[in-house]
Subunit: 365 residues, 2 copies
């Protein structure tokens, strides 16, 4: 197979990989490095602070999340994307990772190189209504839940995120606590996690960056004994915290399109006790890697059973379903289909004109 | 002269012309209609609610200011701009009117048709720093004050706005009040206008849409006698209010790149008493169309002299300097230079290659 020439357009809020927990940047780094390791020719469009084995095309020295004079953030993202579009003939595929809405969407008809985008949130119907003005624009969904939200758009593949099993080492013997890992927001359900700890009489460790929601709503519950705040943690401390947890508590209140922390927990052998929201049900396998509950009462009642799951099986299952090789395979396959479709469309143009192109467009690629 | 084929990309917050006072949409309409009247082929990219004698390319049926499901506004603006870029070969020039920052900027290198942008605010140095990544991107400034802020960028022309003298009729005999006309913000100086009225013992009429700033900061000063609030006014009422005013009070606190209301007042023969901020000094001619003061004390002391200026001379001067024909002439000349430069660059490419293009780029067009 001929190596693919991919423009990977990362977010430019911070470096890739990110200094702290930022799932879009982490995912972009994993995908980029995985593709390079397979021999593909990847150019990463990102900040000068990024570290990669791909070709690095620097558009901003620092990210707009770090250098506040870089404003508005949408312009920063557009500068970075435009740098890739200007070099479109150098690439087989341009892949844009959207921090929020897909800035790349209106560019769909301006470049002949296939442009594909991944959004990393759960878009609402109003957003989809606006996006559907570009029915041919290509999306790679990150879960079936997200793909369903993208109904009517051109979803060319659905690919679950992967986790680097090497850097999330297995922990056979946990300590005595539950773990909440994620931003402090109402939607992530940190208050519900505290309720689970209280009602089950278990300890709970909270780890995330301090913010206003933490100070106002969460801190009053932190007693340093049953409910402990560990601050924002780096990778090593995060792996240690996950490995020591009996279970990750994930009482999500609003839909999320994936949940990287779920597969990171599983990689360490730590099972997950989650509420059935967003993509949770397609990530967590009931009775194998955790429990998916329809109510907080059920979750409270089920935590013991989740914590008792076989941790070696949890890791094994995580490796099979969410190992990086599977994710990289799937992206290579998706990119290859886009390249083949573009080549066929191009050939169609030359022989049959618009009719052939219309037929090929019908394949959804 | 061959008619120019211009893509006029208006803002899509509301219709063009706007239902209420919105200076960017009003300017876009005046420019569009003026160019059509000269026989040029204009395609206006705008909402379906717009009214124009140009070809109307509708991208959104309603504006994002009216239909709140259209979100984020940046995507709406991009959809509208992209529609013009997709048709780039149909046009000699594409002109984008930016409501805020120039979304068009990162598109500079993606189209061969000359793309020019007008921003309608006073950009700060941080913004200019980011914009300067596209040193070749073409700007038309709306005042020398704004052009100075755009230093280092490619400002191809500076063109003052014009006013339709027909629709702002002359009023020879004003009534007994001063007028404040503009949004209620700290930067527009409404509180200073009230201070001027108090200290000079004159009546003041305030006309603008009610907002939070009005309710909290302005309303307590409104007594319905000396300080009167007339609400938000339509065009006819606005012309009547201006015509009846002894002077327009314009105690600007922050820099503005133009000030459409200044030339609207002058068109009615109403002189202007303004603070020396932003572009005021290049719009108001001291002792002819008004007074430009360096402090509020000076403005208070000078209001009587301003109100005593010859109103017929004010209008005559406004007509000469800010009549629409002058503005349309200037835009046609600027567009024509862009077209000629693009044609020469194209010819240069064909004969001398990159070197010729570099030389031509040096002309700043």
């Amino acid at each position: 197979m001929r190596p693919l020439r991919i423009a990977m357009v990362g977010p430019v809020a911070t470096s890739i990989p990110p200094p702290r927990s930022s799932s879009v940047e982490l995912f972009t780094s994993l995908l980029t490095e995985g593709l390079v390791a397979r021999g593909h020719h990847i150019t990463l469009f990102a900040t000068g602070t990024s570290r990669t084995s791909a070709n690095l095309h620097v558009t901003l020295q620092k990210g707009y999340g770090e250098e506040l004079s870089l404003w508005p953030w949408e312009l920063c993202e557009m500068l970075n994307l435009a740098a890739a579009l200007e070099r479109a003939p150098d690439f087989d595929v341009i892949h844009y990772q959207a921090m929020s809405w897909p800035i790349s969407l209106p560019m769909t008809r301006l470049v002949s190189t296939p442009l594909v985008q991944t959004v990393h949130h759960a878009p609402g119907s109003d957003e989809i209504g606006l996006w559907s003005r570009y029915p041919e624009a290509r999306f790679i969904a990150i879960s079936n839940e997200q793909a369903a939200r993208l109904a009517g758009l051109n979803v060319v593949a659905t690919i679950h995120h992967g986790v680097d099993m090497e850097t999330f080492r297995f922990s056979a013997a946990p300590q005595d606590y539950l773990l909440y890992l994620g931003r402090f927001t109402e939607g992530k359900g940190v208050l519900q996690a505290i309720e689970v700890a209280r009602r089950t009489g278990r300890r709970l460790i909270l780890a995330a960056a301090e913010n206003d929601y933490y100070r106002v709503c969460v801190a009053p519950h932190v007693d340093g004994d049953q409910i402990v705040y560990a601050g924002e943690v780096g990778h090593a401390e995060k792996v240690a915290l996950i490995g020591g947890a009996q279970a990750l508590v994930y009482p999500l209140q609003s839909a999320e399109p994936f949940g990287l922390v779920l597969i990171e927990a599983m990689a360490c052998g730590t099972p997950v006790a989650a509420l059935d929201r967003g993509a949770v049900r397609e990530i967590v396998d009931e009775g194998i890697t955790g429990g998916v509950f329809s109510s907080l009462d059920d979750l409270v009642a089920g935590v013991s059973a989740v914590a008792a799951l076989n941790r070696a099986c949890v890791r094994e299952h995580a490796s099979a379903r969410f190992g990086l090789p599977r994710m990289i395979d799937a992206y290579v396959a998706a990119y290859s289909r886009l390249v083949a479709a573009a080549r066929d469309a191009d050939a169609g143009w030359r022989t049959d004109g618009p009719r052939a192109r219309a037929l090929i467009s019908g394949t959804g690629l």
